[in-house]
Symmetry: C2
Subunit: 193 residues, 2 copies
DNA sequence: TGGTACATGTACCACATGGTACGCTAGAGG
DNA sequence: CCTCTAGCGTACCATGTGGTACATGTACCA
């Protein structure tokens, strides 16, 4: 199979390198020497440069999915933002946006990336909202807006590093939502502390 | 000077090519043959590959600024979104996000790109809001949230192509804003048609 | 006419790239 | 002991890269 100890070790190192240096302009020799191996080995384990690219993207996708599971279950939008805005996730998010723009150009290895990164976040939220009695179409719009706010503010945060400012903007958003659908149990029932 | 007719012609063609094919992985020969010249000419006019890159980024920045002027003056958030969501701007926005992620890595020629693309949009909005009597800090948070919503939904739109869905989400946002600060003249006084 | 500055074409260079051929080692299983 | 396989190193190859040298063209001005 395409998975062995050695391969996994290299893949993790490669992802680590991508987190720090991006996924673009990565030459086999560059990354190989950076992670302490030879470009020969990368080709041996991943068949080609593109194979490595695909593997890295898949792994990032997997980690993104894990982040999703760890955060979307958090009740309370504020807590969700707090988690996503944590500095330990910055590298992952930066790489996410990088791959996202690659995927927008349909580059190899990014099939399904956009769909998954959209529906992956939307559907659980929509599901929990419709379960709470919200109209399906409304739920979708709310989820979509929430995702947009999150991503937009993450872009801001990555560029400005202004955690306080972006958090303030996010707080404003949750406040707007709460005002619209008063404290009756809804999907945004985070306690204001 | 670094600007001549020939150079401008090449620059525009190069930007056109970047709009269609991205700015990454662009080799001098590739783009040269695509726009009907030789890589020799690109180096002649832009000194180096990096010089060309920088020039392209600057030009995109300039166009972005123009888009900003054309849209931010529109009164009514809805009309603003309608303009930005127009298919004719898709390529420019896709390239914008591509350069944005480059800039997040501090790649050459992107100095000031992030700052400008943040403050460029925020300050005019903030200015018009404070002029209307809104508290400075509040205004900043609102503007920031609005920008985030716009960018997040653009990312959604670029990936999904779902103009109706993203517009619905944006409508929801404007509604939330209006509900929060009722139809007293505020910065979001777009008429709902 | 000659010159001068911009523009362009041809040919080339050194180098980095992705990929391959081949050989070596270590360990497992018979 | 022999064999087989996974893992790896060395050396190589053809190709594409950014960049340069040099000659040519072309227009305008004196």
């Amino acid at each position: 199979m395409a998975t062995s100890q050695a391969r996994n070790r290299l893949l993790n190192a490669a992802v680590e390198h991508a987190l720090n240096h991006g996924i673009v302009d990565l030459s086999l020799r560059e990354i190989a020497s950076a992670i302490g191996t030879s470009h020969r080995m990368l080709i041996y384990h991943f068949a080609s440069r593109e194979g490595l690219l695909v593997a890295v993207v898949r792994e990032v996708e997997r980690r993104e999915r894990q982040t999703l599971e760890n955060t979307v279950s958090l009740d309370g939008a504020r807590r969700l933002w707090g988690r996503l805005a944590d500095p330990s996730l910055r590298d992952q998010e930066r790489l996410f946006f990088e791959i996202y723009s690659h995927a927008l150009r349909g580059r190899p290895g990014t099939d399904g990336f956009l769909e998954e990164s959209l529906e992956g976040w939307l559907s659980p939220v929509i599901k929990s909202m419709t379960a709470a009695g919200v109209d399906e179409s409304d739920a979708r719009a709310i989820a979509r807006l929430g995702l947009a706010v999150t991503r937009g503010l993450l872009l801001d945060l990555l560029a400005s590093g202004d955690g306080a400012g972006t958090t303030q903007a996010f707080e404003l958003f949750t406040t707007l939502l709460e005002q619209a659908s008063p404290p009756s149990r809804s999907v945004t029932h985070g306690d204001p502390r």
